[in-house]
């Protein structure tokens, strides 16, 4: 224990038990399910695995997933920056309500989230009939998937930026302004560079969630094979088609993305100095 005096550590047997409990818990709840997926994915050999991943419907699912994430993430990054700036740098009434509303998509069940958009854009929805009359199809088509994905990932970037901006305080920006910088210059050269790591972190979390969203997209997608299925939906379809090995194989794509997310996160944490020695 780095620098910790002997009087501040537990006896060996306590440490052993705690470690066994903690590691056992993680092993049973995390590692085993992961292993089960990997085992099933490769159960028919490498060739079958590659075939499943390269199949046409899988590829179109990957394309759709990337499209949805590719729109949802930048959208929510811009929103996160705007919201964090407004909330941390200014005083106005209703700030707490605003923060709570931003957090709301986080707590709304994905099924409800999807249902909201069916109620809004469906053929019998609030503005659905008007849109359909003008040839704009939202529900059961790609736009709804993008919108649903954007909805569920709204809080991620904002939640990272708000504490970061708050901790930093406006001193640097004020200094820049007094030195003659314009608002945009200040923003671009003082604020954003400081936010680099929280921003990247939030974007990574946002991307992970966008790629993996299932419930909301399931409600608004028409499950049209090869067209309105994201990777998670495609996994479900394969699973239901008796193609278990293929389902798990495609699932490994998602696991790969998840692991990449975790690695990216660790990288950022390491860079941002999380491994500070305790004082």
């Amino acid at each position: 224990m780095k620098g910790r005096s002997r009087v501040c550590t537990e006896p060996v047997w306590v440490r052993a038990i705690l470690m066994i409990v903690a590691l056992g818990f993680l092993a049973v709840f995390l590692v085993l399910p992961l292993g089960a997926v990997l085992y099933a994915a490769f159960s028919k050999g490498l060739d079958a695995y590659i075939a499943a991943v390269r199949e046409a419907d899988t590829r179109s699912a990957v394309r759709l997933t990337l499209l949805a994430a590719g729109i949802a993430v930048p959208l929510n990054v811009c929103f996160g920056i705007a919201a964090a700036w407004a909330i941390t740098r200014f005083k106005f009434p209703g700030k707490r309500v605003l923060v709570t509303i931003i957090d709301l998509p986080f707590a709304v069940s994905p099924v409800i989230a999807g249902m909201l958009f069916v109620l809004l854009f469906g053929a019998h929805g609030l503005i659905g009939p008007w849109l359909l009359g003008h040839g704009i199809k939202i529900v059961f088509a790609i736009p709804a998937i993008v919108i649903a994905t954007s909805f569920v990932t709204i809080p991620f970037v904002a939640r990272e930026l708000i504490p970061a901006l708050e901790a930093r305080g406006p001193e640097q920006e004020l200094a820049a302004l007094t030195l003659g910088a314009t608002a945009w210059q200040t923003f671009r050269r003082v604020t954003l560079p400081n936010l680099r790591w929280p921003l990247a972190y939030g974007a990574i979390l946002c991307t992970a969630r966008a790629v993996g969203e299932f419930g909301a997209v399931s409600v608004v997608s028409g499950h049209i094979r090869g067209e309105t299925n994201t990777i998670p939906l495609h996994v479900e379809i394969l699973y239901n088609d008796f193609q278990y090995q293929a389902a798990f194989a495609v699932a490994t794509i998602l696991i790969g993305i998840a692991l990449a997310t975790l690695i990216g996160k660790s990288f950022i944490e390491w860079h941002a100095g999380r491994g500070r020695p305790s004082h």
Partner: protein, 333 residues
Amino acid sequence: MSRGVTWITILLLAISSLGMGCSSEKDGKGAELLNVSYDPTRELYTDLNAAFTKAYAAKTGTTVRIKQSHGGSGKQARSVIDGLEADIVSLALAGDIDAIATKGLTDKAWQGRLPERSAPYTSTIVFVVRKGNPKQIADWGDLVKPDVKIICPNPKTSGAARWGYLAAWGYARAKLGGDEAAQGFLKALFANVPVLDSGARGATTTFTERAMGDVLIAWENEAHLIALHGGDAYQVVVPPRSILAEPPVAVIDQYATKHGTAEVAKAYLEFLYTEEGQQIIAKHHYRPRNAKAAAATKLPTLELFTIDEFGGWATAHAKHFADGGSFDRIYSR
């Protein structure tokens, strides 16, 4: 930071391409059909679509691309009503298509437009048991034995479950005399059901992959598919009496007209009744209408009663599956 400008540019480009993407539906070259179908017909339509595309191209020179969507029958009907632009629906029961017709999406007299009440094939509900039939399931009555676990999808969402429910009801009503007794029978039956999946295929997965239950109540075609895939781990048990399920098909006029695919859609459905179509249907363990194709299947004859015994789907739905119906009463305290 110029990275921000880059982001915004990408964002705007993405949004504009999205906007272009969502308003253009037809791409003009060849026709596109969307077939919204019920859960277990995946393999069937893969083959049917390939055959139809070939035949139609040979006849008219147009290449047709057919997109498929599958799910629980009730769920699919809801999607169509909510805006899923199906040119064709092929659902598990007439009641679901009636619901679509009631909303004005297609002709209320849709069922008369094709032969045999618009059902190009029939099927029935049978049981799948594990190798050796350890629990000795032979008839509906065996399902309520105390140590039997049944896998059945949710009648509220699955067509298979609704047909199965009515088949059980029909058996009980005849055997035990009257609807009261039948209600009690169904209650005992569902007491033996540990899992309710939303569609027929989900139930199959639970029974096979997750190894739950002693018996699966399934479509006949699904049962044979399971037996085929499972080596000899599963057996199909056909009860002496079951319900005649007539899964119908229909063109959804509103969307087919909008897409300009009315002709192709009609031709597609008519293909299902042709010799070639019927043979593919037979190959997938359905009961085709065509006598010659039917003879080629080796499906057993059993005593079949129809939905008319329940007064048609509208009556059956109101009595059993609507809120407060007999299925809800099974679960109320």
